[in-house]
């Protein structure tokens, strides 16, 4: 066992629960939704009054941004209002056959090995672990052999992760397929907890949370996990409640029949999971979400990794937006896909909001007219306050300011992805790095820093010219944006913290890991006796 294994955060027990089974919660959320709708109506009725039109272009921009965010907010509330915490469900079949696929590209063996070991040690099914290596790494092959996993490689590396999986699909035949990213260490009972849901012949896949075990290793990982927690908490539970949960690329068990019906994993998208889900739902298949952490993975630890991941997601989802809108999905499911895909347009609204104070200070033009700050606050503050309260309540506090700041500072990614999508430029699948960099990464946030410079310059100019309440108000808006942007970009501007001290990590493997080791050894011995199916 290498030192990496000893301090591997993935071997700790998860510090988060995806389920929320409070009986009054759903009622409370629906009550909040009932309050949110009238507040939104009051705000927009006031905002859309003809006399509010200030500078027409700015006003139009404001209305579009506000409407977009209102739709997103209401969509979030609607999603959460249907949430369902689906428990694990043991299958009726005594030992179903499962192919466990772990796609690998160029990740270090030390990252992949715990995953393979834990996958081999899973119980509750006749399963075979396939290490699908697109990196042709002989160390990886030796490691797979060491753990009794099957090593699969291919001569032509087309289609990125989707191509890799499709290649493995062609070499295997079990009725169920579990896909694990190479950094996601599964729990021993992963298959026992999920296969029961596939007893329903209409279910194509069962998704489980994508838990980041390294959330406490840095600001980026923490913020990224905070965003994940909101998604795999109330949003995923809500989508499941609306039968609209989509596949997230890892920690998901598929029915082979469903995969084969839609032609396997789509290779023409950088978000093959999202596209695959759309296709499956279009074919009438259903999905399930089990709200329990069944695998522990690694999130992006530095800004460049985060940006890379977000760029891929933004481009993939935005490029899917058109197909989603054109699809023959049921309306409710289509709305969910549209909400998820269009989320990556949020960056445009951030850009607009940042522009307003700059334009007001420099030119005097402003979107609204015939109003006072008092009136604006009276209509906006309750709507805004309840929206934030809702996020806090529904997210169980998982969504933090750091997550919001990181998302806001990444506005440019959405803008870039939107423009590329409009231009029809195809993206490439870039694997998210699994280990953080140990240097400052200002280039990863330069657009946010440029925005900060513009805002600070405008605010300084305004203060030098005039300090009347109107200018102060716009300077305060600029300060708000600057603070959020800097908070989001800050992890890229300072040297990362040193690695966690050894005493913070377990000094030895927890009992579960020892059991995994023993089970892996037993499985290895078993496989040495039993030849793998062709």
């Amino acid at each position: 066992m290498t030192p990496t294994h000893v301090t591997d955060t993935r071997l700790r027990a998860p510090a988060w629960s995806a389920a929320h089974r409070s009986p009054g919660r759903r009622v409370a959320m629906r009550l909040m939704l009932c309050a949110m709708v009238p507040l939104a109506v009051v705000y927009f009725a006031w905002l859309l009054a003809p006399e509010r039109v200030g500078h027409p272009a700015l006003y139009a921009l404001l209305i579009v941004a506000e409407l977009f965010n209102a739709v997103q907010a209401l969509g979030f509330w609607w999603t959460c209002s249907g949430e369902r915490s689906r428990p694990p469900l043991r299958g009726a079949e005594s030992a179903p056959g499962v192919d466990v696929m772990i796609p690998v590209y160029d990740e270090p063996v030390s990252i992949v090995e715990p995953t393979v070991a834990a996958a081999v040690a899973m119980t509750g099914a006749r399963h075979t672990v396939h290490l699908c290596d697109d990196g042709d790494n002989p160390d990886m092959e030796r490691m797979a052999a060491r753990h009794g996993a099957r090593y699969i490689t291919r001569s032509e590396h087309a289609g990125a992760k989707a191509g890799n999986l499709n290649h493995a699909l062609a070499l295997t035949e079990q009725p169920y397929v579990l896909v694990l990213d190479c950094d996601h260490v599964p729990e021993p009972h992963f298959l026992e907890a999920t296969l029961g849901h596939l007893a329903d012949e209409r279910v194509a896949f069962v998704q489980t949370p994508q838990y980041y075990a390294n959330a406490d290793t840095g600001d980026v990982a923490a913020a990224a996990w905070s965003q994940q927690a909101l998604f795999f908490g109330p949003i995923a539970r809500g989508k499941d409640g609306h039968d609209a949960m989509f596949c997230c690329g890892t920690n998901v068990v598929f029915r082979r029949e469903a995969l084969e019906q839609v032609g396997g994993f789509p290779q023409d998208s950088v978000t093959e999971d999202f596209e695959l889900s759309v296709r499956l739902h279009e074919h009438g298949w259903r999905s399930r979400y089990v709200a329990e952490v069944l695998a522990r993975g690694l999130g992006p630890e530095d800004m460049a990794s985060y940006v890379s991941q977000q760029q891929r997601w933004a481009r993939g989802c935005l490029s899917s937006l058109g197909p989603v809108l054109r699809s023959k999905l049921p309306l409710r499911v289509k709305l969910h896909y549209a909400l998820s895909a269009s989320y990556f347009l949020t960056g445009f609204t951030v850009l607009a909001y940042m522009a307003f104070p700059v334009v007001r200070i420099l030119t005097g033009a402003q979107p609204l007219a015939s109003t006072t700050a008092d009136q604006f606050l009276a209509h906006f503050a309750p709507y805004f306050g309840l929206a934030l309260l809702g996020v806090t309540f529904m997210g169980g506090g998982a969504y933090t300011f750091k997550a919001f700041a990181l998302q806001t500072a990444s506005f440019w990614i959405h803008v870039q992805a939107g423009i590329y999508t409009l231009l029809g430029r195809r993206g490439t699948f870039v694997v998210t790095p699994k280990e953080g960099a140990v240097e400052r990464q200002p280039r990863a946030v330069w657009p946010a820093l440029a925005a900060v410079a513009v805002l600070v310059g405008a605010a300084a100019f305004g203060l030098l010219r005039d300090r009347d309440p109107s200018t102060l108000n716009n300077v305060a808006f600029a300060a708000l944006h600057v603070t959020v942007l800097l908070a989001g970009a800050w992890p890229a501007l300072r040297l990362p913290s040193p690695a966690p001290a050894p005493e913070r990590a377990p000094r030895a493997l927890p009992p579960a890991s020892r059991e995994q080791e023993a089970a892996a050894a037993a499985a290895r011995r078993r496989r040495e006796r039993e030849p793998l199916p062709a």
Binding site: A373, L388, T392, F401, A403, N473, A479, V484
Partner: protein, 908 residues
């Protein structure tokens, strides 16, 4: 048989062994029997004290009748005789202590005491003439005293014996015999013979009491048992003699050093105070034979309660009490009744402690302490006893020292361990730091001061009334509950009506807030949060501003903090003590400010939420439900009387056409209290609460920074989800939200003062935020520094910026007027309701009258000053302008002065 059976009374005799065990908490047996239960001990004490109280009331009744019947001089003579009588009886009465401790002493000493009493009476009779001259008394009175002398020691011995033997009914009979004879015989004799007649009746009554105490079947065998080891009846008698001296020497000294009028007034005080002391006389005597921890506790509680009851009775309306009981000519001494009765109440407690000490340990230290106090008492009377009040305060000081000293000795208190603990406590780094902050807070609150404001002057005027009249005035004209007024009433009685004196309760509350913030912050969050909260409270503008205002808002903040803190403790730990402290502070909060109800209501919502959250744990849920279900009705019960008071106020104000309206002191256009509050008003009030009062311009600029509140809301995402934070935030925010809603109907209620209880809670939350949000040391220090610096800047602007619209410089204007006005000059002021503050600063120095009564016409050569305030309100502005125009036609405007929120015109 007779040789083997003890006499009947010896069977009831207390056990001889001095109960070491009983000092540790057991009970000394009442006789030869076993331990006595606390309940029985309390019952016996109550029965005898009841007899004593009845006897005292009878004696008081006799004095009251005598005061009516006799001329002042004769009454003073009779009182002096009574004092002399007491001087003989009370030291002799100290023999009671000896025979109570050792009942056999009565039989052994009776002959000797009779001989001494007879000799003393003879000596007194022989020296009656020169003594009468020295004491300025009639010789007849001294002869009467001589006739009483033989009874004094005998009564004391026999009563003490009865206490020691547990013959309580007989003791009570002897006590009651005295007032019965005095009233039956004394009133008639006093009417006929004057003071001498009364004195004769008193002597006869003493003999009658002796007869009852000495009746057969209760006497101890004259010979037989030797005194038991360890008892010190002689020292006990000496100690009680010294106590009697301390109790009575002031009236003799007053009679000697004061004129007739003042001596008579002190005689009134002595009579009332004597009743209070008399009520507790039997308690130590009952304690002596049963000294032990339970008996001591019961005796102290009973003596304390009787003393407290006496103080409360006279405190209701001392002037009226004295006037009604002794006649209007003695009313002037009413102000000293409370301190004097307080002194006698403490004497009652001190006697209990002395008795316990005499029964439990060697008496040398106690005797030395008593001697020192007696001497000190004489010195104090001579030093500050210029009048009846001075003598009363001298006695109060002496009895305070006596109580403290006797407690230290009786409870075997040694200063060394306490000093060691205190030293260890005081040198703890956190204590040093918090003490430094508290000292800094005190200095800031003392230095950054301002003059008395209108509302304060009104409160002071009310507090100067007798308490009954004050409460009536509050009920008829005010809109606030009475707790702060009662505190102020007591403060005014003790410290007077100076600016610092009337603000003392607020000052003390806002300095005490500093350590409380630390302790609460440490308890709720952690030590760092406690430090930050205490530092923030030190410079928070509102904690400084309202420390300098003789109103209820400082207490509001203090009680709000305690209630919120203990609610968090309840949610976290439960516990009866936490519930009790919470309920007490919550009720006090409501009695301080009616809007405290909103605060307590918000807390009940938190309790309800916490209860719902515990529904999965049936055991805890049941315990919680019982505690909450008990506390809430008790709180409601405690508040019910206040609701009646509030209803009366509302009806009175409605009848006066005012409702609950009152002049606003908003003083600025930013958050005018004349229209329904909007978002800007909400922002302004929130900004005031944290950053203090500022000029309208500053507030407009501050309010324009509202987008930063959006930033704050975003920063709060995912934070503050603990019960502690939630409870504090709810208690801080909900009352303000409720008042904002109410403000849509009644705009004036949305005023930061009415939800000022939120301020310490917000400071706690800020303290928590600045110490927990940054994860590293330097950013944490930076955040703390920025927060404290921001509040300090706000404080500086609030206190020193002359544009602060809340500053009304009545002090500056009226002090200036006092300097300029000469006899014959007239000051007119508007609006008329500033009469209280004009009265506060100009009472007796200015000829001031409201402008509402018309423009005056001074005599030639004299001047008219017009003082006007609240000129932002149109009616008052027009009233002042009209008066100035009228005066301008007839006189010459020679000067015009501007003060913050006040203008003064001078016409000649």
């Amino acid at each position: 048989m007779t040789a083997t059976l003890p006499p009947p009374e010896t069977t009831r005799r207390r056990a001889p062994a001095r109960p070491a065990a009983s000092r540790r908490g057991g009970h000394a047996p009442p006789g030869a029997g076993g331990p006595v239960s606390p309940k029985k001990l309390a019952g016996e004490q109550l029965a005898v004290a009841g007899g004593q109280l009845t006897a005292g009331l009878g004696n008081l009744l006799f004095s009251l009748v005598a005061a009516r019947v006799l001329a002042p001089g004769a009454f003073a003579d009779l009182t002096a005789f009574l004092a002399l009588y007491l001087l003989i009886h009370v030291p002799a009465g100290s023999l009671s202590a000896g025979s109570a401790l050792a009942p056999e002493l009565a039989a052994r000493m009776r002959r000797r005491v009779l001989a001494i009493g007879g000799a003393a009476g003879l000596a007194l009779a022989v020296l009656s003439v020169p003594l009468a001259m020295a004491l300025d008394l009639s010789p007849v009175l001294l002869l009467a005293a001589a006739a009483a002398a033989p009874t004094a020691g005998l009564i004391a011995l026999d009563r003490g014996r009865l206490y020691g033997l547990g013959r309580h009914a007989r003791a009570v009979g002897s006590l009651l015999a005295e007032p019965a004879v005095r009233l039956a015989l004394g009133v008639a004799l006093a009417a006929v013979l004057g003071a001498a007649g009364g004195a004769i009746a008193i002597v006869v009554a003493g003999w009658a009491a002796l007869a009852v105490a000495h009746l057969p079947q209760t006497r101890t065998a004259p010979a037989g048992e030797a005194p038991r080891e360890g008892l010190r009846p002689g020292a006990t008698i000496a100690a009680f003699a010294l106590l009697a001296l301390i109790q009575n020497q002031d009236v003799l000294l007053a009679n000697a050093i004061l004129g007739d009028g003042e001596a008579a007034r002190f005689a009134v005080l002595s009579t009332i105070g004597g009743a209070a002391a008399f009520a507790t006389t039997t308690i130590p005597l009952m304690l002596l034979p049963r000294a032990g921890r339970d008996a001591l506790r019961i005796a102290i509680v009973l003596a304390g309660l009787l003393g407290l009851a006496a103080v409360l009775v006279v405190a209701v309306s001392p002037h009226a009490l004295v006037g009604a009981v002794f006649g209007a000519r003695y009313e002037a001494v009413g102000g000293a009744v409370v301190p004097y009765v307080h002194a006698m109440a403490m004497l009652g407690v001190a006697r209990v402690l002395v008795a316990h000490a005499c029964a439990a340990r060697p008496p040398a230290a106690m005797l030395a302490m008593l001697g020192a106090v007696a001497l000190g008492h004489v010195g104090l009377v001579l030093a500050i006893g210029d009048d009846a009040t001075g003598v009363a305060y001298a006695t109060l000081t002496a009895t305070t020292a006596l109580t403290a000293g006797s407690a230290a000795i009786a409870l075997d208190w040694s200063p060394a361990p306490m000093l060691a603990r205190a030293r260890a406590f005081a040198t703890r780094p956190d204590v040093l730091l918090v003490a430094t902050l508290a000292a800094a807070a005190l200095v800031i609150r003392l230095l950054a001061t301002r003059g008395i404001w209108l509302d304060e002057a009104t409160s002071v005027k009310q507090a100067k009334m007798p308490v009954g009249a004050m409460l009536h005035e509050l009920g008829a004209t005010d809109v606030h509950p009475p707790l702060h007024h009662i505190v102020l009433w007591l403060t005014v009685r003790v410290f007077g009506t100076g600016e610092l004196a009337v603000r003392l309760p607020s000052m003390v509350a806002m300095v005490a807030l500093i350590p409380l913030m630390y302790v609460a912050g440490r308890d709720i969050f952690d030590r760092r949060a406690g430090y930050a909260a205490a530092a923030l409270a030190t410079v928070a503008p509102f904690t400084v501003w309202y420390a300098q205002e003789a109103r209820m808002y400082a207490l509001f903040m203090l009680f709000a903090l305690i209630a919120a803190w203990y609610q968090v403790r309840i949610i976290r730990d439960g516990g009866a003590r936490n519930w009790i402290v919470y309920a007490a502070s919550a009720v006090a909060l409501i009695y301080t400010q009616y809007f405290g109800l909103l605060f307590v209501g918000a807390q009940q919502l938190v309790f309800a939420a916490a209860m719902i959250a515990r529904r999965g744990d049936r055991y805890r849920l049941r315990a919680w439900a019982v505690a909450w279900g008990t506390t809430l009705p008790l709180m409601a019960l405690a508040v019910i009387p206040l609701m009646g008071f509030a209803l009366g106020q509302f009806e009175a104000n409605e009848a006066a056409g005012k409702g609950f309206e009152q002049p606003s002191q908003t003083g600025g256009g930013v958050a005018a209290a004349t229209q329904a509050p909007g978002a800007y008003e909400a922002l302004t009030n929130a900004a005031w609460a944290v950053t203090g009062y500022h000029s309208d311009g500053t507030m407009t600029s501050l309010a324009a920074l509202w987008p930063l509140l959006m930033l704050l809301a975003l920063v709060l995402l995912g934070r503050g989800r603990s019960w502690s934070t939630g409870a504090l935030a709810t208690a801080a925010i909900l009352p303000a939200v409720a008042l904002f809603g109410l403000g849509q109907l009644k705009p004036f209620v949305f005023e930061v003062r009415y939800f000022i209880g939120a301020v310490p809670l917000v400071l706690l939350l800020i303290g928590r935020a600045v110490t927990s949000w940054p994860v590293r040391r330097v950013p944490t220090l930076l955040a703390c520094t920025v927060a404290i610096g921001a509040l300090a800047a706000g404080l500086a602007d609030q206190q020193f910026n002359g544009s602060n619209p809340r500053v009304y410089d009545f002090k500056g204007a009226l002090t200036q007027l006092e300097g300029r006005a000469k006899p014959g000059d007239i000051v007119v002021y508007a609006p008329d309701y500033i009469d209280t503050v004009v009265g506060y600063y100009g009472d007796g120095k200015l000829d001031a009258r409201p402008l509402e009564k018309g423009v005056p016409k001074p005599r030639k050569g004299h001047r008219v000053f017009v003082l006007a305030s609240f000129l932002d309100k149109k009616p008052y502005r027009e009233q002042a302008e009209k008066a100035v125009k009228q005066l301008d036609r007839r006189y010459r405007l020679v000067n015009e002065q501007h003060y913050p929120q006040i203008r003064v015109w001078e016409f000649r």
